[in-house]
Symmetry: C2
Subunit: 119 residues, 2 copies
């Protein structure tokens, strides 16, 4: 069951704030390392480290042009995955907030979702 480990590694690779920012930028188009560092206001070496991590998971690939190295996503579906995941996460968090408000109004919470009904 190495697949499980690979999938977990893949998710963790995306699930780091700086790398996620990088991926969202690359979803719009390719960028060179310096650009990314500048836009994200992070050290260049940090960006390089993160790009290497992303490359090891085959999430990004690079192309050299003169001194500059441009990175892009290896697959457009990655952009969609990130968007879909964001949307779902937002819904889940919203749901959580509603539950908190609901409980604050003095309800005990039967446990059977009036707010988050079973799927």
């Amino acid at each position: 069951m190495a697949v499980l480990e690979d999938q977990a590694r893949f998710l963790r690779c995306i699930g780091e704030p700086t790398r996620l920012q990088i991926l969202k930028l690359l979803a719009e188009g390719e960028r060179c390392v310096g650009d990314l560092a500048c836009v994200l206001n992070k050290e260049q070496s940090l960006i390089s480290h993160h790009l290497r991590a992303l490359k090891e998971c085959n999430i990004v690939k690079e192309r050299q042009e003169a001194q500059k190295v441009y990175y892009k996503l290896t697959d457009a579906r990655l952009a969609r995955l990130i968007i879909d995941c964001e949307a779902l996460m937002k819904e889940l968090l919203l749901c959580k907030c509603q539950e908190v408000n609901y409980e604050r109004k003095g309800n005990q919470g039967s446990g059977e979702g009036e707010i988050c009904p079973d799927s």
Copy 2:
């Protein structure tokens, strides 16, 4: 940009091998803590800790029945997300292997994906 942090936290929460296993089990239906610990051959306290982490991200919810506490996914789309993500990850890794084999045959690799063509 708290959304970014939330999304990253969400992905990391899923991207831990034991939690991912739990989620894959819960995708099939609800389970109590003891069951999960037994099936996964892990300590009960460990499973509880992981379930708490998942609950904090609103990925799972619980229902108590006598002494037992049953957990399930808060949303069926989570199961699909995990499946889709696994499929994509597998493709990306396969792609990576092919690149390695390709380079082993003595090619220099122009950098412009004969194997992973641009999307």
